[in-house]
Symmetry: C2
Subunit: 223 residues, 2 copies
């Protein structure tokens, strides 16, 4: 695992970066959607491609050497996982999920999935369902005060999940030593349960001796 990365930005700098990249990343998400759905003339597509390649070139002139990672705060407040594939503010692949939690082992998120998340015609890809449930279960576990990396994840698909407005819910079911069991489910716009999940989260060896589990919680949340 990559070493823990400490946050070096001030609160003001972080707020400014969020204000800059939230609308930028949303614009790229819209581009992802229209890449799948456009019926524009070939010449229009080719011109757009040349413009996108030029934009990439300019943005790449100064970039991080690797992935975004997670920037931990020295004071124990929540770090930045802006590159995360499910929650990342700066990741256009992430819907992104805004996951809420009660801090006692329950987590939930309401969101909308479009064309980019399709598997069978008109339905959410079954693997996308497991991707999102993994994150929401991990969030429930990590915010309950007992972090863990996903050891086992089981998804039971009850029925097709239509693209559109959806909800994920998760909760801590039980604990035993270094293991925590989380459960969760996906609900469609009518509130019908389309899939159920169970995960076993294991506190990793390197985290068992830490003074605080805060950093471990954030590092393992998307395990």
């Amino acid at each position: 695992m990559t070493a823990f990365q400490q946050e070096t930005a001030t609160d003001e700098e972080i707020a400014a970066e969020a204000a800059l990249f939230t609308p930028f990343t949303d614009a790229v998400r819209a581009l992802v959607d229209v890449t799948i759905r456009t019926e524009a003339e070939p010449q229009v597509v080719r011109e757009a491609q040349a413009e996108i390649e030029a934009i990439v070139e300019r943005l790449r002139a100064r970039q991080m050497p690797g992935p975004y990672g997670v920037r931990f705060r020295p004071n124990g407040t929540r770090g930045r996982n802006w590159g995360n594939a499910v929650m990342g503010l700066r990741n256009p692949i992430a819907p992104p999920l805004d996951i809420r939690s009660d801090g006692e082992g329950r987590a939930w998120s309401d969101f909308r999935l479009g064309a980019a998340y399709e598997g069978p015609p008109g339905l959410v890809h079954g693997g996308v369902i497991s991707l999102l449930l993994d994150q929401v279960l991990g969030h429930a576990v990590s915010t309950s005060g007992r972090p863990g990396m996903t050891g086992t994840l089981t998804i039971v698909y009850r029925q097709g999940t239509p693209l559109g407005d959806l909800r994920c819910e998760a909760w801590v079911d039980r604990r035993d030593g270094i293991k925590t069991w989380g459960k969760g489910r996906m609900l469609d716009a009518d509130g019908a349960v389309t899939a159920e999940a169970e995960g076993i989260f294991i506190l990793p060896r390197w985290a068992r001796d830490l003074d605080s589990w805060q950093a471990a919680a954030e590092a393992t949340e998307a395990g």
Copy 2:
């Protein structure tokens, strides 16, 4: 489930669309990566955003009313799932996986994952692992001649999966009536198994009476 959509394009039209959208979608994938990693000045980011929004506007002037779906061929040859979240030629979220199979129940894919697929620092998101394994298991099952929607998917995580070059493998383990069991695994660049998967795929009721399972195989592959 959305009704089956018949392919109306000719082979030549399909080849032309692939030639147009393969490099276009790759350009958008590069933009996704740099959205996460750029350290360009705020003014450069803001200008890029305005340009991207203008591109989206032009491409949206003519677009499909909904998601891409799957276009089935009347002659039983393979249909187009170009919007698929894992394999889709026109989906920038898809790495995309080029999945090979021996037609007898074995499937595999070699691919590379970058910053967009990150979970814990430097590692592939655990849910992304389940997303990809779901697709490769489904491909093994569907190309074995006995299609099915994923009923249950279980992933066991053995160790962290570093971002970079990876491989997924899957095979049909056994069958019983309408159920097919698939197994699979994720391997890192050194060939170490980082995760294992088992899926139970169930032939859906609507497909049990079809003359041919070809369309059913393609519709259910990403279930």
